[in-house]
């Protein structure tokens, strides 16, 4: 299945084989064997091009999920074994720089529980958490609706908040008590920045490219962009930035999420602590 996913992604046996670290002929045979075992043609191959069949694209989706599940099983087991020897505990994934006071309160509350284990923090970029939870690099995550997809996970809502627009200090709008969303999206000279997609490319459009929070805040301070963010981010704003509430922006809900089948004692404890905040 790993082999199939590699070929389906590259659509090229030679490159896929190289990527997998094996030779091309065994890869061809492995795929053919898989096709015979499943009784399904997965790839349409001419000597010039390889394309996915309908069954192949089904298997691509399913195989990715299955491989993630297998990887998760291995990783979580390894970690559980380490925990027995006293080292690591549960891994909590959270977006770098988001919900930091909530996170601090959560960690404090959990640490006060009688059977608390070590909580390793895994700070990650936009949209990474889903992957980390699926492949077992994390056991539990803090996600932000509606930005992060929570489908497939069990969740508990922790907090809902409005959003603010982050502007350079001294910007004319900063004297206002609040601004409408429409006005923010059309601020002259202060476009919203563009974030990289998971594959690393940037969407088209106006606005500067920002790779992480630090770059973004710098861009705002320089008067090259503005940004809409949950209001809890105000606590971490630098002096050269200001925030104004945007009442009609969608509200953001912070949730704690975990894979439904892996509610271990440690995860359950964290969730309990979180819901009691």
């Amino acid at each position: 299945m790993r082999y199939f996913v590699a070929v389906a992604e590259e659509l090229h046996f030679g490159r896929a084989a190289q990527w997998l670290g094996i030779a091309q002929p065994p890869l061809s045979r492995a795929i053919r064997r898989l096709e015979r075992r499943l009784g399904a043609q997965l790839l349409e191959r001419t000597s010039r091009a390889v394309t996915l069949t309908e069954a192949g694209s089904v298997l691509l989706r399913e195989a990715r999920a299955a491989l993630d599940a297998v990887e998760a099983a291995e990783r979580r087991t390894r970690r559980a074994a380490l925990a027995a020897t006293g080292h690591a505990g549960v891994v909590l994934a959270t977006k770098a720089g988001a919900s930091s006071e909530l996170l601090a309160k959560l960690l404090d509350a959990y640490a006060a529980e009688p059977d608390a284990v070590t909580v390793d923090l895994l700070l990650c970029g936009i949209g990474e958490q889903e992957r980390l939870l699926r492949d077992g690099r994390a056991d539990v995550a803090l996600l932000h609706r509606p930005f992060d997809a929570t489908s497939g996970f069990d969740t508990e809502e922790l907090r809902t908040e409005g959003q603010v627009v982050v502007l350079p200090a001294g910007h004319p709008l900063t004297v206002r008590a609040h601004v409408p969303l429409a006005e923010v999206t059309e601020l002259p000279g202060l476009p919203l920045p563009r974030w990289p997609r998971p594959d690393g490319t940037y969407p088209d459009g106006p606005g500067p490219q920002a790779r992480d929070h630090a770059q973004l805040l710098q861009l705002i301070a320089l008067g090259r962009a503005c940004w809409i963010a949950p209001e809890s981010c105000r606590a971490q704003l630098r002096d050269d930035l200001a925030a104004v509430p945007v009442l009609d922006a969608p509200t953001v809900t912070t949730v704690i999420a975990w894979p439904p089948h892996s509610r271990s004692r440690a995860v359950a404890g964290l969730v309990r602590a979180a819901t009691r905040l």
Copy 2:
């Protein structure tokens, strides 16, 4: 991993090996190999007993999910290949006897869509649907909250309804416009029936054992039990049964559910048809 799950369930190498259709020594070695590869002790073995370690129970949960995912990948791919040759389409799992008019409307509505494929119905018993969705025997299911667990699936709510108590025709209560829940649970001589658990055993307590709907209805008609059910079941009641609303019973929500990673065109079409009902 299959091997490990077998041993972890039986807690006995000999029986597990027999169950797997292999000899005991290769099974012992396979487990030991797995332990070395994961760097974790999974089983505590004395020559008299085998017990799961902490890491072992983590792996048991994770491995079950992973094996289901692999099985699902194989099954769904096989089915997708058959669909290409014109045979089968999408498999919808639903509790036998529940939501039948809703189901009929759903199938009609979906069949009217331009790119509709064949919908195979999989009628199953209580609590089976979750398993079927996970291991790929079904692609989409109709579930009933709060009875069925929907965690780990994407869902859309279709309908919410109250519940009624089903009684033998002519029972004194049938003249009432509605009855409180407390009164139903203490009806003299008409206890609620006991359903088998997933492992086939019955919970303790009063009330007759019922294996399926037919048995249950028979028991009610004979005056040996009563039953609380969604009010839509009234449409299918036999003449010798009657139903009375129970206003304070929890409401039942029928949802359509599917595994989040496998929203194929066919599943998406069904969901669309369902939400438009």
